[in-house]
Amino acid sequence: MDFSIDAKLRDRLEVERAWGRERVRPAGLEADRQGSPLAQDHPYFQDFVARGEGRTRWHGPGSKGEVPPPGVVVRALLVSEELAYWDRGVIVASPGPGLPEPNVLALGTEEQKERFLGPFVALDRPRWACFAMTEPSAGSDAAAICTTARKDGDHWILNGAKCFIGNASRADWILVQATLDPSKGRDAQRSFFVEKGTPGLGGFKIEKKMGLKAYESTSFSLVDCRVPASNLLGGEARYERRAGFKTAMRTFNAGRPVIAANAVGIGRAALDEALAFARNADRLGDPRIRDRIEALARRLRMARLCCLRAGWLADHGKPNIVEASMSKALGATVAEEATSLGMELLGAVGARGDHLIEKLYRDAKAMDIVEGTGQIQRVIMARQLVKLPRS
């Protein structure tokens, strides 16, 4: 057993810490103050790309980008935690193939990887991609989505509405989850690449959110939106029984520990701010305050270890369904606790609405909603632990 991090990762975290302090946090505060997402031409994005970020893990035909070497997940989680410490919204706003990339790597045809990930190899400018599952009438119950896909010759025609989709209006392409027959549940679901500017893709509405304002969460519609048959992720042959839905959920299984790491980052930021505030106010001598700070630090440490455990299992190709859900459920809860305690320590200062902790308090809430709520994480765990039936 070993709980240490090596010099390479330590150095990397130092670099990210400096970048976070100098660039990520200021960008997040700017977006929060202006109340809208960072514009696509914001210098932060240019510099992010110039830094070598925002690229795909795919390195050209035959690339095994989908099989990361051992240890990559744990390292990525710790980096992600560090960046979220500075601003989780800016992390999501940052360009790159994002949430759908793992699915494309795992299931896309070579031609699809070339077409859709190719532009992310040597970036000429900031580019985004995104994944659209949630609909106004179906979020947690992802099997109940009703955006339809109908085959029409060598095209698919998509109709429906999606909501809260990160970076949707600026994305080069959106991986849209749709159903061939809403009455058939999961079995009939497929993923489609819908490129920017495709006729029928429109009605973009950037939502006004409580927090995480740096990135756009966007609703849009698909009205007789025709995409080529070759835009069906993996091609028709790939879709065996229920594989469609499983493909979509793969994104979320991979994503849960990342959200957990982000939540720990937010929680740590809140704890540090709260400690600094309490120290300045000379309140750390009060054992009631000390006890609560201790509880938070302890639970943050535990949440981080749970998250790393989920990542470590993934790194070693071991099943991590329970651990991934556990890490997310716990991380999100602890982040809420941390920011709430921070607000309490600030007292009336927190109510002014101009302190970083107040922003973190708003940001943290989403961690228990995105990519499966805390309740859904428990449902997933219970399916494994006590064979909770699906219906």
């Binding site: 740590r268 470590w312 070693h316």
Partner: protein
């Protein structure tokens, strides 16, 4: 770099302890409670598998394994019968002050004689708030509970040192809320002669940290057993036409119990790893102990609740788990002193709290 694989040796140790707990402790747990002791045959079996000298120095015939091995073994024994686990370990966590402060000579002088005497026991008293009074080489005061009937040796761990009492104290045997297989007494010290005394604040803190890990891992075992037993039961027991585990109120409670156990285990292992790799570990051990006690507040009563009325009856081991969990959490100064230690350390540190400072998580 982070590696959560325990490796072959620890895994083998875990399996050995688990088999022993399942084969020897579990079938006799009500007998051990009633007898306030483990039977000679169980003792013999324990001696045979070589777990008795787990942390003793090799020079004294032990295996000289470290805190991780202790954590793994204690979890398994605690899952079998935590009281019996204590009864089987003559020195228990009293080993740590002897080793950390007195070194091998102290162990030879005060510890080894107990190992040679069947059923002899040492107890550790953590006098964190200095409620016991030392005048010259005499100690006075009162300890309301230790998990042993008439202990043979008392080791008192203070903030700045430790002392040993060999004779002259009075033990009043108690019923005990839990851990009855280990026995229970109150101790009265009336100007009792101090046999040995050492002062070393840093070594005392290390001993306290290791003792907390000892207790935490034993408690973790109790909680794991409670969570798993009640989970299995909930999948068998049917109410309103389906297994009770499939009612979401219980399903979520079961997932939360699972999370509490898993989370506490990670904190214990991390703190034990720190101790084993000679990193500062005292605050991490305090946190691990507090978290495990906090988990017990959820898991202890919940494992009874899941069994309903059956949980309340002694036909099932859940009521024992609930009592055992509560009693263990009060041991060695309980969670409050640990919370205070960890809180002070945290608040004294320079801001911001970089949890990843210095290459250790």
């Amino acid at each position: 770099m982070i590696d959560l694989d325990p490796g072959d040796d620890l895994e083998l140790l875990r399996q050995t302890a688990r088999s022993f707990a399942l084969e020897e402790l579990v079938p006799r747990l009500r007998d051990a409670e009633a007898d306030r002791a483990v039977s000679a045959s169980v003792r013999a079996a324990f001696a045979q598998i070589g777990l008795a000298g787990l942390e003793l120095p090799e020079s004294l015939g032990g295996a000289e394994l470290g805190p991780l091995a202790r954590a793994f073994v204690n979890e398994e024994l605690g899952a079998g019968d935590a009281g019996a686990a204590l009864a089987l370990d003559p020195l228990g966590p009293a080993l740590y002050p002897l080793l950390e402060l007195g070194g091998e000579p102290a162990l030879v002088e005060y510890g080894l004689p107990l190992l040679e005497e069947e059923g002899a026991r040492a107890v550790l008293v953590c006098d964190d708030d200095a409620s016991l009074e030392v005048v010259g080489d005499r100690l006075s005061g009162w300890v309301p509970w230790v998990p042993a009937d008439r202990p043979d040796l008392v080791v008192v761990l203070t903030r700045d040192g430790a002392l040993v009492l060999r004779e002259g104290f009075e033990s009043e045997v108690l019923r005990g809320a839990g851990l009855r297989a280990a026995g229970a007494s109150a101790l009265r010290f009336d100007a009792v002669p101090v046999a040995a005394q050492w002062r070393d604040t840093a070594a005392a803190a290390r001993a306290r940290g290791r003792a907390r890990l000892y207790a935490a891992s034993l408690l973790l075992g109790v909680l794991r057993h409670g969570a798993e037993f009640s989970r299995d039961y909930a999948q068998q027991r049917v109410a309103f036409g389906r297994p009770i585990a499939h009612h979401q109120g219980l399903a979520f409670l079961i997932t939360d119990m699972h999370m509490a156990v898993e989370g506490a285990r990670l904190l214990i292992h991390e703190a034990a790893w720190r101790a084993e790799s000679a990193h500062p570990f005292e605050d991490a051990a305090a946190s691990a102990w507090v978290e495990t006690v906090s988990a017990s507040v959820l898991v202890g009563p919940a494992c009874v609740q899941i069994l309903g009325g059956h949980g309340f009856m002694q036909d099932y081991p859940m009521e024992k788990a609930m009592r055992e969990a509560r009693a263990l959490g009060l041991w060695l100064g309980g969670a409050d002193a640990a919370r205070e230690d960890a809180g002070r350390a945290l608040c004294a540190g320079p801001p911001p709290v970089a949890l990843s400072a210095g290459g250790i998580l």
